[in-house]
Amino acid sequence: MDPVLDNLDLFWSGFLRSLGIALWGAVGSLVLGTVVAVCRVCPVPVLRAFGTTYVTVVRNTPLAVVLSFFAFGIPTLGVNASYYLFGVAGLVVYTAAFVCEAERAGINAVSPGQAEAARAIGLGFRQTLTLVVLPQAVRSVVPPLGNVQIAMIKNSAVVGGFGVGGDLFAVTKRLTSAQGYPLLPVLTGMAIGYLLMTLTAAAGLAVAERRLAVAR
């Protein structure tokens, strides 16, 4: 494991870079995914159509294609930004489609009687959703949302290949290809880095699940 121990600082900076991408990806995809999910269940037909189209298009497109679209497509339209921003944006847009579907499943799992009762006492769409349906939906949504976010952390390795650089995957390539370290220990070091992130996320989700659980 010498190649890893000799370059711990490099691995650490790569780990922080990957962690940054994953954290922005988590925050962004949860916000955007929730917006799209609200669109998909709301009574306005135009927004429903938008939500459905978004999920259909994005969910069925490979991540690498979405990322290429951002990193190579958008600059040709004359819009320039850092590759980091493009990469995170691509990851957010892609993951949001899955977040939306996980949340929609949770919303659908709340019995229709709850929404009907809310309407019967005079609550509007917004109040029905925020006060009655979503709080109940959150519980059943934690495990599938956790799945989506862990997949997103792993997908963040793909982002590094689109000009972002400096992440765990890039560090691995640097050490093996340019500096000639043997492949196996370096790859192991990278795997440990990603495991640290995904296992921590999984532990956090287990805690959240226990807290939110209620007897039914």
Binding site: T76, G163, A170, R174, T176, A178, Q179
Partner: protein, 300 residues
């Protein structure tokens, strides 16, 4: 028939003189270098690699298939370029005609393995001599010294060398992930984010064309190719700030073969083949200078 090696070489020199006059007939490109003519039945000390290859009558050479000017495999099926010409000359010294050469693609990461596993006899593939590689193979040569340089847009005036990068942190520099030039440039940057890395140089060129990167850095010979390919769009700035001596990779410890290759390179320089070949390949790009054959390093 066995003659002494010196007389065989003399015979080859005469044959070369005769054949260069009417050579070039088999070339499909207009100004390609004359084909080297094979030595007739050269003799080598029994047991050497040269004797073994000459006896076999064929040679397997690893080269790049994607490097304009050095080794580029086009529609004709056989790679073309300066590296290819150098390998053909060495083969000719062993008495092997061009059709006795088997070309094998040698991507950067696989070159040592190709030699160590015995898949090829020689690797001539823009192969920088360094100590790390010398642990596994032996280098003959060098036959060319490349150097890292910077390419910028034609109207860029802030950058005139690597030293200007620190003062202009908004100038993004592109290179290839895991390459030596990418490592070399890091010390000149204001922040790690100034370096943009992709899997290949083509992505860097398109990043420059869309304004995502303002500079591209790697060996000068690769850059001159891109300057020529995209007429008027790019220019090279500053001096070469590293030295990348290109050598010919052979089996580790084969001193006799190494000396033989060095002799072949010297005779290529002497009879004008080196210059002629350079002008027809890597030298055809504007901004490249005719190199002198560098002093060979000691064989070990």
């Amino acid at each position: 028939m066995r003659t002494k090696r010196t007389s065989a070489l003399a015979g080859a020199a005469v044959a070369a003189l005769l054949l260069t006059a009417c050579g070039g007939g088999s070339d499909d490109g207009g100004d390609a270098a004359a084909e080297p003519s094979a030595s007739e039945a050269p003799t080598f000390e029994a047991g050497t690699t040269m004797a073994e290859i000459a006896e076999r009558g064929t040679i397997t050479v690893g080269t790049k298939f994607d490097q304009p000017g050095f080794g580029l495999k086009g529609l004709s099926g056989d790679p073309e370029g300066f590296d290819v010409d150098v390998a053909e000359y060495i083969a000719a010294q062993l008495g092997i005609e061009a059709d006795g050469i088997t070309w094998v693609e040698a991507p950067s990461a696989q070159r040592e393995d190709l030699i160590v596993n015995g898949d090829v006899d020689l690797v001539v593939a823009t192969y920088t001599i360094n100590d790390k590689r010398k642990e596994r193979i032996t280098f003959a040569g060098p036959y060319y010294v490349a150097g890292q340089q910077i390419m910028v847009g034609a109207d860029e005036d802030r950058i005139s060398g690597p030293e200007d990068l620190k003062a202009n942190p908004d100038v993004k520099v592109c290179s290839v992930e895991g390459s030596t030039p990418a490592e070399n440039i890091r010390q000149y940057l204001a922040a790690p984010d100034q370096l943009v890395l992709f899997a290949g140089y083509d992505e860097c060129v398109s990043a420059m064309q869309t304004g995502q990167a303002q500079a591209l850095t790697t060996d000068n010979v690769i850059l001159t190719g891109y300057v020529a390919e995209n007429e008027g769009e790019f220019k090279l700035v500053g001096e070469q700030f590293t030295e990348e001596p290109y050598g010919i990779g052979i089996t580790k410890g084969d001193v006799a073969m190494c000396e033989f290759v060095n002799d072949a390179l010297a005779s290529a320089a002497e009879d004008g083949y080196y210059e002629e070949s350079w002008n027809a390949t890597a030298g055809q790009y504007e901004g490249s200078e005719l190199p002198e054959l560098p002093e060979p390093a000691a064989c070990s």
